[in-house]
C-alpha cells in the first residue's frame, strides 16, 4: 500500500480516502479553492491534484463552479474553476483528520521507543 488510507462512510457508501485526498480536502477547508493553489499548499503535483479533485467530486465530497465572468474580466483574466467542500466532504475530512491524528500519535510513540543508531 503506497498511501495510508482513511476509511469513512457517507450514508451507505464507503469512501477510501488516500493521504492525497485528505490533504486536498484539508486545503479546500482552509479556503484554497483553485487547483494551482491546492498544489502550492499541499506540494502535490498537478497529475495527482486534478484527478483526485475529479474523484472527490464524483464521490460528492467536493463541488466545482466557474467563477463570475465579471470578476475575472475585472482582473483581465479568464474565469477560473473553483472547488469547495460539500457537507459530506467536511464530515469525511474531520473523520480523516482524527484518524491521521491517531496515526501520528502512534508513529510518535513507536519512534520514541526506537533507539537511534548513532548518538
Amino acid at each position: 500500500m503506497l498511501y495510508p488510507r482513511a476509511m469513512a462512510k457517507t450514508g451507505t457508501r464507503k469512501i477510501n480516502l488516500s493521504f492525497a485526498g485528505a490533504a486536498i480536502l484539508q486545503a479546500l477547508a482552509h479556503d484554497y479553492r483553485y487547483g494551482f493553489d491546492i498544489m502550492d499548499v499541499t506540494g502535490l503535483p498537478s497529475g495527482t491534484v486534478y484527478p483526485a479533485l475529479r474523484r472527490l467530486e464524483q464521490a460528492g465530497l467536493v463541488r466545482s463552479k466557474w467563477e463570475d465572468q465579471d470578476t475575472a474580466r475585472k482582473d483581465q483574466r479568464p474565469a477560473r474553476k473553483y472547488y469547495e467542500l460539500t457537507s459530506g466532504g467536511r464530515e469525511i475530512l474531520s473523520e480523516a483528520v482524527n484518524r491521521y491524528r491517531v496515526l501520528e500519535r502512534t508513529i510518535k510513540k513507536v519512534t520514541k521507543s526506537v533507539k537511534p543508531l548513532r548518538s
Binding site: 483553485y34 487547483g35 494551482f36 503535483p45 498537478s46 497529475g47 479568464p78 474553476k81
Partner: protein, 196 residues
C-alpha cells in the same frame, strides 16, 4: 542576446496539444480550466515580478503534469490497453515455450528445456490471469501482478544465463523487460488509483 519569453503562449499551446488526448465530451471544459489556471498564474508572477527561470520551469512541470490528468479520463481505455498488451506478451512467451517443450523437450528428450518451457508456460498463463484480474478488478490482482512480473524477470534472466542459454536475448528483452515494465507501470497506475 537571449530572447526572454514574456507571454504564456507556449504553455497554452502545450495545454491545447495535451487536450487532444482528452475524450471529446469533457475536452473543452478541461482545456478552459487549465488555460485559466496557467494564464492566472502567469499574470500573478508578472505582477509580483517573479517571472524567474525557476518559476517558469515550475509552471512547465505543472503543465506537463496535465498529461497524467488527461490519462485519468481514459481509465477504461488505458486498462484495456494494458490487458491487450499482457495477452500479447503471454501469447509470445507461451508460443515460444510450447515450441521448445515439443521440439527440445519431447523430441530431443532433454530435461532442462522441459523444465524451463514448463515454467514459461506457467508465466504466460499468469500473464493472462493478471490481465483478467485488472479487467475484473480482483482484490488479489495486485499480488498476482507482482508475482507475474517477478517470475517473468527471474525465469528469463535464468534462461539466458549459462549453462542453460536456451533462451535468446530477444526473449529476455520481451519476458524480463515486460515483467519489469509491468511492475513499474502498475505501481505508477496504482498510485493514481487507475487500476484498482
Amino acid at each position: 542576446m537571449a530572447v526572454r519569453m514574456q507571454t504564456p503562449a507556449i504553455y497554452l499551446w502545450i495545454v491545447r496539444a495535451i487536450s487532444l488526448l482528452a475524450p471529446k465530451e469533457p475536452r473543452l471544459e478541461w482545456r478552459r480550466e487549465w488555460e485559466a489556471e496557467v494564464f492566472s498564474r502567469w499574470l500573478l508572477m508578472k505582477k509580483w515580478e517573479r517571472l524567474t527561470v525557476h518559476n517558469k520551469l515550475d509552471l512547465l512541470k505543472r503543465v506537463l503534469g496535465s498529461v497524467f490528468d488527461v490519462l485519468c479520463f481514459q481509465r477504461r481505455r488505458t486498462r484495456l490497453g494494458l490487458v491487450a498488451l499482457n495477452i500479447l506478451v503471454a501469447l509470445l512467451i507461451g508460443f515460444g515455450a510450447l515450441q521448445q517443450f515439443i521440439i527440445d523437450g519431447i523430441g530431443d528428450r532433454q530435461l532442462q528445456p522441459i523444465l524451463l518451457s514448463s515454467a514459461a508456460i506457467i508465466v504466460s498463463i499468469l500473464f493472462i490471469t493478471s490481465g483478467i484480474a485488472v479487467l475484473r478488478r480482483w482484490p488479489s490482482g495486485r499480488r498476482l501482478i507482482t508475482l507475474t512480473g517477478t517470475l517473468s524477470i527471474v525465469l528469463h534472466v535464468y534462461g539466458v544465463l549459462p549453462p542453460h542459454r536456451t533462451m535468446g536475448f530477444l526473449v529476455l528483452i520481451i519476458g524480463a523487460g515486460y515483467g519489469l515494465v509491468m511492475l513499474v507501470v502498475f505501481a505508477w497506475y496504482e498510485r493514481r488509483n487507475l487500476v484498482f
